[in-house]
């Protein structure tokens, strides 16, 4: 955030703590995305749309999800991209 980066620029110790926190959070999130590969996931989307698919991959900016066998309300789309802006949440079981 803007406020924290301004504060941390003036304080090397704070900057280092912020970098470490960001790194731990990001690494764990990337691990989560990797663990979704080839899993059946359910997307809760805006306008009350719920769809199932097999998760493929995400781009690193988390803007798009690449999925297969997407069960849309009007049939199965073999390969699809889902915009993260359309998504509220994604679930899967481990």
């Amino acid at each position: 955030s803007i406020s924290s980066s301004v504060a941390s620029e003036a304080d090397p110790e704070l900057l280092q703590r912020e970098q470490h926190a960001r790194s731990v959070l990001r690494e764990n999130f990337l691990q989560c995305l990797v663990s979704m590969t080839n899993r059946k996931v359910q997307f809760h989307m805006h306008e009350k749309v719920k769809v199932e698919a097999t998760f493929g991959a995400s781009d690193i900016d988390v803007l798009n999800f690449q999925v297969s066998d997407l069960h849309t309300p009007i049939g199965v789309q073999k390969e699809a991209l889902i915009r993260s802006q359309d998504v509220i949440s994604v679930t899967f079981d481990v």
Partner: protein, 97 residues
């Protein structure tokens, strides 16, 4: 209690929510409870884990959809352990080599 601006909080604030049971309001009508595992510092998306008899379910709530995050309770040592083992995670800081 977090009222607004979740995506703007930043890493040092987000990390304080990890290993806590939280209630997340998202979109217009979704409300989810779970143990917060991590927050993506790029998209502010949160990862929640909920345990069941069958195993665990994971929910990723997109950062842009997060309306409110409320801490319900801290995880005890056993839950922290379950969070580590239910989900393939790398070692956390201070947990040895």
């Amino acid at each position: 209690m977090m009222q607004c601006g979740w995506p703007l909080l930043g890493p040092l604030q987000w990390i304080r929510y990890t290993d806590k049971q939280v209630k997340v309001k998202a979109g217009k009508q979704e409300e989810h409870r779970g143990w917060m595992v991590t927050v993506d510092p790029v998209s502010a998306s949160v990862v929640l884990v909920d345990f069941s008899e069958a195993g665990a379910s994971v929910r990723v709530v997109m950062g842009h959809a997060v309306e409110e995050v409320e801490v319900l309770q801290d995880a005890d040592a056993e839950t922290v352990q379950r969070l580590r083992s239910a989900f393939v995670l790398p070692k956390r800081p201070g947990l040895g080599p």
